[in-house]
């Protein structure tokens, strides 16, 4: 079972009863049509044609190797981003505030950046209801000096939750712990590197922007490959 988004917050949801603060930039029906047609194009054209091309017409999704998982990752993006976009458009049409769920995730240059662009509504939900309260709890309990430890433990809990959100299984627990370790290591390396002068040079930033998305794609595909058997069980 994959629990799908977008996940809406209660305080955002009840805003549907309030009058909008600012008038929409473009006519609302144009935005509705644009979102719904883009969603259909993603889901029924890009995702389905990619699936037919790679796995064969009418064949079930499967992964026999890393490359299959890489294609599956791209397929999942177009499928999931597609129906999230349709939900967004329908939400606009019916006056139900629906959060944006994807924001060009393959352009992310780091894993932390990736998860602010992929399934954003779940990321915001976990950050708001689990990560930040836990982090505050640990800081209050252990003091500001040990805030880094509290932050790491809160990150671990948040990622275990995200892993088990997909399916309650051992592999998704390993996935959650692995992602927590990766995101924490990335932050540690970046914080250390940023103290060096070479890391702040323009050329380093340009190289990081080019190589970052490749690194994210490879790491994410590898992590999905770990749980791919669980997805199709």
């Amino acid at each position: 079972m994959i629990v799908s988004g977008p996940v809406n917050r209660y305080d955002e949801h009840i805003r549907m009863d309030l009058p909008p603060k600012t008038p929409p930039i473009q006519p609302i029906w144009l935005s509705v049509l644009n979102n719904i047609t883009t969603g259909f194009l993603y889901k029924f054209v890009v995702a389905e044609y990619l699936r037919d091309y790679w796995f064969g017409p009418g064949m079930p999704l499967r992964s026999e190797g890393w490359l299959d998982t890489a294609i599956l990752f791209i397929y999942i993006f177009f499928d999931f981003a597609g129906y999230s976009r349709i939900a967004l458009g329908l939400g606009q049409a019916l006056g139900v505030p629906t959060p944006e769920n994807f924001k060009a995730p393959f352009r992310a240059a780091s894993l932390a950046d990736f998860f602010t662009r992929w399934h954003m509504s779940l990321g915001t939900f976990v950050q708001r209801n689990l990560y930040t309260p836990l982090q505050l709890h640990f800081v209050r309990r252990w003091g500001v000096k040990r805030a880094a430890y509290g932050s790491a433990i809160a990150l671990g809990f948040a990622w275990i939750f995200v892993g088990l959100w997909h399916r309650i299984s051992l592999m998704f627990l390993v996935y959650g712990l692995g992602m927590a370790a990766l995101v924490w290591s990335e932050k540690y390396v970046r914080d250390r590197a940023l103290k060096r002068a070479w890391a702040r040079k323009k050329i380093t930033i340009v190289i990081a922007r080019i190589l970052g998305p490749i690194y994210v794609f490879v790491v994410m595909t590898t992590m999905i490959h770990l749980v791919v058997g669980e997805i199709f069980r």
């Binding site: 930039i25 473009q26 144009l30 644009n34 047609t37 029924f44 009418g58």
Partner: protein, 38 residues
């Protein structure tokens, strides 16, 4: 981004193009096989 007539026309054109592609592909696919879902 400021609302403009030109921008709205471009969005309309883009929406129309997507609808045409969807209709054409649905017609082609309906003769090939039935969609089985994720």
């Amino acid at each position: 981004m400021k609302p403009s007539f030109r921008r709205e026309c471009l969005i309309c054109l883009w929406i129309s193009l997507k609808i045409v592609v969807l209709i054409l592909l649905v017609r082609i696919r309906s003769t090939e096989f039935v969609y089985q879902g994720f």
